[in-house]
């Protein structure tokens, strides 16, 4: 045995390797004074703490469930503030009014043939309520934990439910649905050291397995191949107001020329007194 022997990572570890490690460690530290040893331990703890906080994006304590590890509380009732794109979000625009969506020619042809009566007859009146269209709608959201690993987002507009799975492997087979399959993860932010310090972070989600629907209520389509990526931030103002901002990117290789990216904001409400579920409506 020599002190300088390098253990190859490609060689199976043996009991002797562990023994070698402790021998090396004892030789390395034994001549040190106690003060130096304490200094090193303290610095090591500080370093690991700093690294975990500043660099630990997505890192979670093994025992903590996503619900416990949440760096931000998204639960409660939230209302969409329709301060942007009002004419396209609050009311149903007329056929042909597609401004701002980077649709392609195939999408335009489909949208030009939009007929809500046909959608109703086909039982497809929820086409504008699939996840990418739903989030831009005039809706309230009710966010709760379904269990320790699943966040539930309900809308009263169209009475839809989105489930965000933190740990459960998302099924890749089966029928496509309006809300698809969403996987989620916490994105831990730097800052906030020490017990009791504020924690920061956001949620990233990716939704696939979407049933084809509409980005805008007047028939601008998205395809089943759409990938809907969202970043959820919560901002708390000095007066206590809280805003949920959903930065989202719609990637559709079939009907979009470019990723369709927007940010949608919601304001926290004190309770569910204004919650008013209404079914899907293909016309208004």
């Amino acid at each position: 045995m020599t002190r300088s022997r390098i253990i190859s990572p490609h060689r199976p570890r043996r009991h002797g390797d562990t023994e070698n490690f402790w021998v090396c460690l004892r030789v390395f530290v034994s001549p040190w004074p106690v003060g130096a040893w304490l200094l090193i331990v303290a610095l090591l703890a500080l370093t690991l703490s700093a690294s975990a906080l500043a660099q630990g994006r997505g890192a979670q304590a093994p025992a903590a469930t996503p619900r416990v590890a949440a760096p931000v509380d998204m639960t409660g009732y939230w209302v969409a503030i329709i301060s942007e794109d009002w004419r396209w979000r609050m009311v149903t625009p007329s056929r042909g009014d597609y401004a701002s969506i980077p649709m392609n020619l195939a999408a335009q042809k489909i949208a030009d043939a939009w007929d809500p009566a046909k959608d109703e007859a086909a039982g497809e009146q929820c086409r504008a309520y699939g996840a990418p269209g739903l989030m831009r709608g005039p809706t309230r959201l009710h966010i709760t934990w379904l269990d320790d690993t699943t966040l539930k987002v309900e809308s009263d507009y169209g009475m839809q439910t989105r489930l965000f799975h933190f740990r459960t492997p998302a099924p890749t087979q089966g029928a496509k649905t309006w809300q698809g399959v969403s996987t989620a993860q916490w994105v831990m932010a730097g800052g906030g050291r020490g017990r009791g310090a504020a924690r920061y972070g956001s949620m990233k989600s990716v939704t696939t397995q979407l049933r084809p629907g509409y980005l805008r209520k007047n028939g601008v389509p998205y395809s089943a191949g759409t990938v809907f990526t969202e970043y959820w931030d919560v901002h708390t103002e000095a007066n206590g107001d809280r805003y949920l901002v959903d930065t989202n990117v719609v990637n559709d290789p079939v009907y979009l020329q470019l990723p369709f990216m927007t940010a949608i904001h919601f304001k926290k409400e004190p309770d569910g007194s204004k919650w008013d579920p209404t079914p899907c409506d293909a016309r208004f």
């Binding site: 001549p31 130096a36 090193i40 610095l43 500080l46 370093t47 690294s51 906080l53 500043a54 660099q55 209302v79 969409a80 503030i81 329709i82 301060s83 942007e84 794109d85 009002w86 004419r87 609050m90 009311v91 149903t92 625009p93 007329s94 042909g96 009014d97 597609y98 401004a99 701002s100 980077p102 649709m103 392609n104 020619l105 999408a107 949208a111 005039p138 932010a189 730097g190 800052g191 906030g192 050291r193 504020a198 920061y200 956001s202 601008v220 970043y231 931030d233 901002h235 000095a238 107001d241 805003y243 901002v245 930065t247 020329q257 990216m261 927007t262 940010a263 904001h265 008013d276 208004f284």
Partner: protein
């Protein structure tokens, strides 16, 4: 230095070298290109006059906005007048963000670069207090910032009276304040502004937008503004373009054009929330097909984003500038 000391020094140096600052901040430095997928008409070709949808205007704010005509910015003294600090949310150009460093290398301020119509916004990060209310007001205001996780939150005060939005005359007073939340993740920058105004708004005006990091930085240049005589009848006549109260012919434009309820077009706060949709259900009648009614604003393709032209065979009209062909050129040029 003896052997033990050398070992200790080496060990400590290694620890320090691999350590990451506990309060790591996101580097915002760079140029960001606008992506006009929201409020495109206002940010691109220009908004319809009399369209205040999405605004929580007070009666005073609405009255002042209705005095506005699009000729006002053509007066010499207003051609280069800086617009509101938050107006970049409504403009078609990108911006650059850079850090200014203190002598020790720490970030003293983050700066959102302005252009010929908007001043720089300098967000001080050194904890300095906001000055007296009577201190100088600037178009870029006075801003202080703090990091809340990966989000830079800034509070702007000491702003000048300016138009909040682009080209429709919605005013902000010099008592307005703006809170900004700036979050960068990968190549996307989300910027949320919450504007309050005790005179012209009845509740905070919230806007959230997405920008995309643009290493070419071509959208963040700073052209010089020069004045010129844009409207001959305004030259040396003392005429100030405006509408008198109650005489703005555009006040009902959105009602005539899009069948919108007038309270929505005039920016009443109740129209911002989902219950308003239920209120007008049954009375709102969608307008006729877009292409026949408003041929200028109905196409999905956006030429003016700095992207290449439209998809093959996709033609549309960009609203007043002309019909665009497959590669984004005017139909008359092809």
């Amino acid at each position: 230095m003896n052997g033990i000391g050398a070992r200790v020094v080496t060990f400590v140096c290694a620890l320090v070298a691999f350590a990451v600052p506990a309060f790591a901040q996101v580097d915002l430095n760079g140029s960001y290109a606008t992506r006009m997928y929201e409020d495109y008409i206002e940010r691109g070709p220009g908004e319809f006059m009399g369209n205040f949808t999405g605004m929580p205007l007070s009666d005073e704010g609405r009255a002042k906005a209705l005095l506005y005509t699009s000729n006002q910015p053509s007066t010499h003294e207003r051609q280069c007048l800086p617009q509101s600090a938050g107006v970049f949310q409504y403009r078609p150009v990108g911006f650059r963000i850079w850090s200014e460093l203190a002598h020790d290398g720490s970030v003293l301020a983050w700066v959102i670069g302005g252009d010929n119509l908007r001043n720089d916004i300098r967000i001080w990060m050194d904890g300095r207090p906001h000055p007296s209310p009577n201190a100088l007001h600037l178009a870029g205001g006075f801003a202080t910032g703090t990091w809340e996780g990966d989000t830079l939150t800034a509070r702007l005060t000491h702003l000048k009276t300016a138009w909040i939005r682009r080209g429709v005359g919605i005013p902000a007073s010099d008592h307005t304040t703006i809170t900004m939340h700036i979050t960068r993740r990968e190549n996307l920058l989300t910027l949320t502004t919450i504007q309050e105004d005790p005179y012209y708004l009845t509740e905070p005006h919230v806007v959230s937008r997405v920008w995309e990091w643009n290493p070419r930085g071509t959208s963040a240049n700073r052209p010089i503004c020069n004045t010129a005589n844009e409207i001959p009848r305004l030259e040396d006549t003392g005429i100030f373009p405006h509408y008198l109260p109650g005489q703005n012919p555009e006040e009902d434009y959105m009602v005539r054009m899009f069948n919108l309820p007038k309270e929505a077009a005039m920016g009443y706060a109740e129209t911002l929330y989902p219950e308003y949709r239920k209120k007008i259900k049954g009375t709102y009648v969608p307008p006729a097909e877009c292409s026949a009614r408003a041929p200028g604003y109905c196409c999905g393709w956006i030429e003016t984003q700095g992207r290449p032209g439209g998809a093959p065979n996709l033609t549309c009209n960009d609203g007043g500038f002309g019909t665009l062909g497959p590669r984004g050129r005017r139909a008359t040029e092809q």
